[in-house]
Every structure is written in structure tokens, then in C-alpha cells.
């Protein structure tokens, strides 16, 4: 029995493809490690609250350093009350640093730097700072561009800080509730999209390119010049790919779960069915792409021409709703969009078969359609 299986065409073809895959370190890196690294990197970059450092120019030194002649500076007494640390740079610039800790929004550090008006204008134009402070006759003056939202934000923070009587750091009247529940973070948006993109790329390179390369190297015609069943050849390639894609997606999910607590809120069965349908769609497209050419360069071009636009437009890294209104209904018809949107709704919106049956049917149909068309024109010799 075991002998029969191990002598069978399909088994041997699957084993050959599998071995070829795992013996190629590049495939494992780009197929498995890279997407995980990418999700970790982007996840950390966009999920962690950021500590903000804001530079503020203060025109005139006497507001930062106690001066024997004038001790009536409001700003100086404010900074002293709040124990803002005094720093002196190597070039002799004086600055004071004040950090307002905030667990929820991230710490804000204000660095007040003494400089003259000209210097402040230069730095302002370069975008190194957004706001300039001055104090005259007991009045704090803010100089900033009202069209600049960053400057406005700094103004609000500063004025709030100054207006609070007594020690600055204390509970404010309002409470801020940052939206960091699972499902609304960038990582939750990213992971389902990355899984869908992984399936697309894996099918393009693992099925399409593999076929074209075998044709270019005359291996395809050598195999076809035996009693090998052609369907087995294709079935083996696709089977190995789908297996590999399951491993890839599983690992990516595992890492996202461990590192960011990503969960699947919808139906797991529906999600897996959609995943398989997506695999079928891209495997079908891959076979269609590979049906004719024997030139790996052309294969390369075809694959890029197809996958690049989808990678950019299908909302993998950022929502396609940023694109113009008229383009959205087209973008939503791309198989990658359909798969990524479906995966995302199962992951974060709690979707089940009710919501996903349509994309599952359409993706499977795309697979069958392209596969059939590809087989019609497939060049075996």
C-alpha cells in the first residue's frame, strides 16, 4: 500500500515540488520570514504610542536663565516651579526641558530653546520648529502659522499647561480615552491584508514562474514526453503551494497573536473557506499567466504587471478609500481586494459565511475561469 502510494505520479510530483521548495532558502525567507518581519516592523511602528518631542523657540535668554537685573519673567518662574531641567549645548545655546508623562497618549517633552528672532525664523522655515514664544510686559506671546495644525496643537498644549494653576501635572478636567481596542489598530488592518498578499505572491512565483521556468529549461516537454498525466503536474504544483500558504498564513497569524494579541473575531470556518477560495483564484490566474511563454523574463514582467498594481491599489497597506471615488468600485473587483477585504471582515468585524459566501463564490469562479482558459491555450511542448 505504502509502496503503491510512493510509486504514484502525484505523490512523487508533490514530493519533488516540496523538496525543491524547502531546499531553497530564499523561498523560505521571502515566503515566510519576510512577511512576518514586515508585519512586526509595521505593527510596532504604527501601534505603539509615540513620545513627542517638541522644540519651542524662546526669544531672549532671560526667560530661561535667572538674570540679576530682571526676575519677573512669567515663563522662567513657570519653568522653575515645574523643575524644568536646564541644559547648555556645546555651542552655548541654553535650553530647558520639560516632560509631561502620559501613559495613554505618550509622553510629551517640550524643549524651550533660547535664540534670537532671526535664528527662530530660519528654523521655522526649515520646519525644525513650529512655534516661537516671547514675553513682554508680563504677557506671553505665541507666534505661529494658524494654518499649521502641528503649531495649533502645540499652542493648545502649551496654553493648557500654562493656564493650569499650581503644579502643571495633574488630572485634567477632561479624560482622554485612546482607541486601542483590538480591531481598530493598524496591525489588525495589516495582518489579513498581508496574508492575502502572501497568497497572491506565492501563487505567482510558485506556480506561474515555476511553470515558465520548467518550460524554459525544457523540463516540461521532457516530462510530457512520458506517460505523466498533465493534470497531475499542475495539481502537484498547486497542492504544494496551498500547503505552503497555509503554513505561511498560520505562522504570520501566530506571530501577530503573540506580539500584538491579534484575534479572529468572525467565523474561522468561513475564513478558511475564503482563504482556500483565494488560493484557487490566484492559482488559476497563475496558470493562465504561465500558459504560453517560455521566457522567464516575460514571466517576470507578466507577474509584476499583474501583482504590483494590486499590491498598491487593493488596500493591503492603507485603505483604498483614499483613492478617488470613481476608482473604488473597480478596485473592489480585483481578486486581491476581494480576498483582503473578506479576510479583514472575518478577522476584525466578526463576519461569517453570511457575509463571505459571495466573495468565496466569486473567487472560486475566477479560479475556475482562468484555469480553464489557461488550459485551452497551454503550451506543453
Amino acid at each position: 500500500m505504502i509502496e503503491r502510494i510512493s510509486n504514484s505520479q502525484l505523490f512523487q510530483l508533490i514530493m519533488a515540488n516540496m523538496k525543491e521548495l524547502i531546499r531553497e532558502p530564499g523561498v523560505l525567507f521571502w515566503g515566510i520570514v519576510f512577511p512576518i518581519l514586515m508585519s512586526l516592523g509595521l505593527g510596532v511602528a504604527f501601534t505603539k504610542k509615540k513620545d513627542v518631542i517638541t522644540h519651542i523657540a524662546v526669544v531672549g535668554q532671560n526667560h530661561l536663565m535667572p538674570q540679576p537685573t530682571d526676575t519677573s519673567s512669567l515663563l522662567l518662574s513657570f519653568l522653575q516651579t515645574n523643575k524644568a531641567s536646564l541644559e547648555k549645548s556645546s555651542q552655548g545655546f541654553i535650553s530647558r526641558r520639560l516632560t509631561i508623562p502620559d501613559d495613554k497618549l505618550g509622553n510629551t517633552t517640550f524643549i524651550f530653546q533660547a535664540m534670537d528672532w532671526q535664528k527662530a525664523m530660519v528654523l521655522l522655515k526649515r520646519g525644525n520648529l513650529n512655534i516661537v514664544l516671547d514675553e513682554k510686559h508680563g504677557i506671553i506671546q505665541y507666534h505661529f502659522d494658524p494654518m499649521n495644525p502641528d503649531a495649533q496643537l502645540i499652542y493648545l498644549k502649551l496654553s493648557k499647561m500654562f493656564n493650569a494653576s499650581g503644579p502643571v501635572i495633574r488630572e485634567a478636567n477632561t479624560e482622554i480615552n485612546p482607541l486601542t481596542v483590538s480591531g481598530t489598530r493598524y496591525i489588525d488592518f495589516l495582518v489579513p491584508g498581508l496574508i492575502a498578499m502572501g497568497v497572491m505572491m506565492s501563487c505567482m512565483w510558485g506556480v506561474s514562474y515555476a511553470i515558465i521556468e520548467r518550460r524554459a529549461k525544457k523540463l516540461l516537454r521532457r516530462m510530457v514526453a512520458t506517460p505523466m498525466k498533465r493534470s497531475n503536474f499542475l495539481l502537484a504544483l498547486i497542492t504544494v503551494r496551498i500547503l505552503m500558504n497555509f503554513v505561511e498564513a498560520g505562522l504570520l497569524f501566530l506571530v501577530a497573536w503573540l506580539a500584538f494579541g491579534t484575534t479572529i473575531q468572525g467565523s474561522v470556518a468561513a475564513l478558511i473557506t475564503l482563504f482556500i477560495a483565494g488560493n484557487l483564484a490566484f492559482a488559476g490566474i497563475a496558470i493562465f499567466l504561465a500558459s504560453h511563454t517560455a521566457k522567464t523574463e516575460i514571466g517576470n514582467g507578466l507577474i509584476n504587471a499583474l501583482s504590483m498594481p494590486m499590491m498598491v491599489l487593493s488596500g493591503i497597506f492603507f485603505s483604498y478609500h483614499n483613492f478617488p471615488e470613481w476608482s473604488i468600485s473597480t478596485i473592489q473587483k480585483f481578486p486581491l481586494t476581494m480576498m483582503a477585504d473578506g479576510m479583514r471582515s472575518a478577522f476584525i468585524e466578526g463576519a461569517g459565511f453570511a457575509e463571505l459566501t459571495m466573495p468565496i463564490i466569486i473567487l472560486s469562479a475566477i479560479g475556475v475561469l482562468f484555469f480553464t482558459a489557461g488550459m485551452k491555450v497551454f503550451k506543453w511542448y
Binding site: L13, R222, A225, P227
Partner: protein
């Protein structure tokens, strides 16, 4: 068609865009016969052999293998034929053994025959080596081994020794001569090398520009030399190479 012929090629033509690769070739090959197709680059050898192999279709003319055409009999004929193409790159990161097992599975053949073939082509030591790490000669031996997996009644080899050094070439000749002694197999092999045709084959077909220039047994062809303007004392030194040159005005390996 004649009975007893293993391969019948009747007035076969094949063109590619502007090139007429094969221009009316007839061949009759009997059971157990070893035939060399000899010709320079671009003579049409590969095109002819691939039409016999059912990989290319002739524009005109007919081909019968064991009395059957390719159309409608492919499944049957594929089991009886062994072949090696002019250039095939097997999967680089499979071992020799895995490659044999893969191709054997296409014929429904098990391990035992793979062991035999491995021994036949003297590659036991390379059993676990990846294809990518084989030398040119070893790759050709592997290709030859694969072509013999199914104990084919007809073996079609396209330049099995091109690019090999004389030693590696002789190793392949030894394998093929053993097969010839078995008497079960008919073979067509294409080559640029006179010596190869002389060593292995009892019937030689010289083609150029898609046409047969001369065909016959080694002795028939050497007999032609008598018609050449050479002195009797030099006859012994003359080979088919000279014959080819006298027929075409060119050297075979040009």
C-alpha cells in the same frame, strides 16, 4: 507501410517562419537497429527526431511508430519510447535518486528498476548528489538513465555526448553498446561526431539543410570513398569525416 519496420518516416517536411528545417525526409528503421543521424549545426537533426518523438508535428508527410501514428496513440506509444532531449535541465535541488524515482513514477515503475538503472549508468556514488552539483558527463548519464527507465523498445537520443570529454563520451558509448548487445532496443541517435556513429551504429544517415545526403551501413558509406579522388594508399586513413567534407564541402564540426 512495410511490416517489420519500427520507425517509418515518409516524406516529412517542417518549416519555422523563414527556415525550412526538414525538407522531405524518408527513413525506415528496423527492430534492433542502431541508427546515427549525422549532421552539422542547424542540419535539422533535432527537428527530425522531435517529430519522431511526437513532440513536434510535421507540416507534411507521415510518421509511424510500430505501425501507429502519434495522433490517437500517444498514451500507448509513450510507454514504449525512451528519449533524451538535446538540452534538459532537471530539477536542480533534487538528488539523482529522487529524479529517477520521479520519472519512474510517470511509468508506474518502482524502486527496483531505479536501482538497476543507477547501476547501469554507474551513478551509485552520486545517488544522493543534487542534480545542480553534477558534472556535465554525470548529467548526461542521468538523462540517459532516465531514458532507459521503462526498458524502451525505441530509444531516441539527441546528442547524448555533445560537450563531453573523450572519457565521459566513452563511458556513455559503453552503456549504449551493452544495450545494443541486449538486442531488444532500436535506437536513433543524433551526433556531430563521426567516431560516435562508427562506434555505436550499424546504419548511418547523413543530413544537411533538412535533407538526407547519404545513408547506408558503415561499409556502404566507406565504399563511397572509392569514388573520391584519393590515392589507394591513403584510403585507410579516410573516415566518414572526409566523406562528409567531400559531400558538402564543409567539415562536420564547423
Amino acid at each position: 507501410m512495410e511490416t517489420g519496420s519500427v520507425i517509418e518516416v515518409i516524406n516529412v517536411h517542417k518549416s519555422f517562419k523563414t527556415v525550412q528545417a526538414v525538407r522531405g525526409i524518408d527513413l525506415h528503421i528496423g527492430a534492433g537497429q542502431f541508427v546515427a543521424i549525422l549532421g552539422p549545426n542547424g542540419a535539422g537533426k533535432t527537428t527530425l527526431v522531435e517529430m519522431i518523438e511526437g513532440i513536434q508535428q510535421p507540416d507534411k508527410g507521415e510518421i509511424f511508430i510500430l505501425g501507429k501514428t502519434w495522433k490517437g496513440n500517444e498514451a500507448y506509444l509513450r510507454r514504449l519510447i525512451g528519449l533524451s532531449l538535446q538540452e534538459t535541465h532537471f530539477i536542480e535541488k533534487l538528488t539523482v535518486w529522487e529524479t529517477l524515482r520521479l520519472f519512474a513514477s510517470f511509468f508506474g515503475i518502482g524502486k527496483e528498476r531505479c536501482e538497476e538503472v543507477l547501476h547501469l549508468v554507474a551513478m551509485e556514488e552520486k545517488r544522493k548528489a543534487w542534480v545542480v552539483n553534477l558534472s556535465g558527463g554525470q548529467r548526461q548519464r542521468l538523462a540517459l538513465g532516465i531514458s532507459m527507465l521503462n526498458n524502451p523498445r525505441i530509444l531516441l537520443l539527441d546528442e547524448p555526448t555533445t560537450g563531453l570529454d573523450p572519457n565521459a563520451r566513452r563511458e556513455i558509448w559503453a552503456i549504449l553498446n551493452k544495450l545494443k548487445d541486449g538486442g531488444q532496443t532500436s535506437m536513433i541517435l543524433t551526433t556531430h561526431y563521426m567516431e560516435e556513429a562508427e562506434q555505436l551504429c550499424d546504419y548511418i544517415v547523413i543530413i544537411d539543410h533538412g535533407k538526407i545526403l547519404k545513408q547506408g551501413t558503415l561499409n556502404d558509406l566507406l565504399g563511397e570513398i572509392l569514388d573520391l579522388p584519393v590515392k589507394p594508399a591513403e584510403i585507410r586513413k579516410i573516415t566518414l569525416d572526409d566523406l562528409f567534407t567531400s559531400l558538402t564541402g564543409r567539415h562536420l564540426n564547423d
